[in-house]
């Protein structure tokens, strides 16, 4: 390895050894940091929880008064959770089938309403009046403990 003419009987310079150790130590430290950082980031919880995929926690029991509704996040799409006057939970897609506005629950009509062109859906998501051409997708709702869990229906 050593070039001919270099005296290998000379002891290596202490400076060179220090340099190599510094390089190695520093490199190890930096790699350790770059491995640990993402792990730490992973452990710290993100600002909002999403069960991912086809299920989401839409809220807690007691969040909603009877005859009211609220928007929850289902992936990157809005969903509408309604607690009916008869104390039943209903969950629907909140994206209007007309021109994609976000629908809302109207406690005076007991129906789902789209403010953009006065589209109206019933609590099963069926389009009952106005321009919406199709029903809203409806989801399954289960109460697990004190959580309201909404699940996309399996396509038959």
């Amino acid at each position: 390895m050593n070039a001919p003419g270099v005296d290998i009987s000379q002891p290596p310079l202490p400076l060179r050894r220090r340099l190599v150790e510094l390089l190695l130590g520093g490199g190890l430290l930096a790699s350790a940091a770059s491995f640990l950082y993402p792990i730490l980031r992973y452990i710290v919880p993100p600002p909002s929880a999403d069960l991912g995929g086809d299920t989401v926690v839409a809220g807690k029991v007691g969040d909603l008064k009877p005859n009211s509704g609220r928007i929850f996040r289902f992936g990157s799409k809005p969903g509408l959770l309604v607690f009916t006057a008869d104390r039943e939970y209903r969950a629907l897609s909140a994206t209007c089938t007309h021109l994609d506005c976000t629908v809302q629950y109207r406690d005076d009509l007991h129906q789902v309403w789209c403010a953009c062109h006065n589209g109206i859906y019933d609590l099963n998501g069926r389009n009952v009046s106005g321009p919406p051409p199709r029903p809203l997708e409806s989801y399954e709702v289960h109460v697990q403990g004190d959580e309201i869990v909404v699940t996309r229906r399996q396509k038959a």
Binding site: P12, G25, G26, S31, Y37, P78
Partner: protein, 426 residues
Amino acid sequence: MTRRVLQTAILTLLLAALGSPGLAPPAAAQQPNTCLDCHSEFPEPLGVTREKFAADVHAQKGLTCASCHGGDPTKATPEESMSRAAGFRGHVDRRQVPDLCARCHSDAAYMRQYNPSLRTDQLSQYHTSVHGKRLAQGDARVAVCTDCHSVHDIRPGSDARATIHPLNIAETCSRCHSDAAYMKPYKIPTDQYAGYKESVHHRALAVRGDLSAPTCTTCHGNHGAAPPGVASVEFVCSNCHVFQAQLFDTSPHKSAFEAAGLPACVTCHSNHRVVAPGDAMLGTGPQSACTGCHVEGDGGYTAALSFQRRIAELQTAVERSGEILNRAEQYGMEVSEAKLEQAQARDALTKARVTIHSFQIDQVEKDVQAGLKITEKTYQAGVLALQERDFRRKGLGISLLAILVVLVGLRLYIRQIESGEGKGSA
């Protein structure tokens, strides 16, 4: 004398009652129908094949040729089956068709047994229609029941093959109304169907398959078909376009249009050729609906420009923030929360386009501002997500570099040890 009159009256009533369909239950379908034995062999217009007649809703409910044409289809000889004594009337004159159909269809008690929810006011509606009025004046060229419903293969409107199925109605009307030669004496346009086929209504109905989307009869009525007229066109449109009509009523255009004798809605949107409205209808460009009345220098002209500018600004902002969020998402960044908010910005844009019908800039401005506030936030979220992506990329670069340094360091260290050992063993 009075007795004779009374006797005749009673006799007439009795005969009418006997002849009334309510008292005559439909002949059972299995009874022989000797009419078809011959007429299925005849060419048109006398011919009616068994298949054709079997498709007719009346045949399916047990009615026979005799129900409309009289006679007795159970008799084998033409003399008997088509005898005037058996009430045979043969060919039905066009002018008599509405009354003939109405014998059953205007009889609520009779119709109830077949379809309790079917309306029974078709004839009285027909009398109010342009067709019905002209027929009453002796014009036999106008549409009667059979022209729209077909003759021997009448299907219910729910049947996709029916001439009156929502998807087929426009074509059914166009058979006469697009025939320039046939319509000539009436001096009305014949381009309605061509216009309608380009309309947003037709697209919703035929392309998107929304059977509730409007066709001819939605705006003109069916049995009582007539043009809505200048004064009532707004009511017709507002059956579906509720908000636009409400806003229009509060707008300065309401009284101005009335004063000028201009119909609401169709003045800007046209009638049969209602194309999908776009932002180009605002402003003062070549597709502007405003420049038909407004000229440079007047208030409406300036307003038109501001409407267009504000809507365009929101549209651009929505597109810009949508684009950056999509880009961030493609790079695997978590932006679902921001995308959810982005939907609200799109809502605001849609609402602003509806609010235009108030023709008041401050009302439109409210929606525009609401939208802009959201897009500002979502755009920032997109910027942050991309910054985070850059940070991660740099982090990856640095950690790779660190690993490289370790490898080089290790290599050098090993060499040092080896050289130390080499010296020791020498």
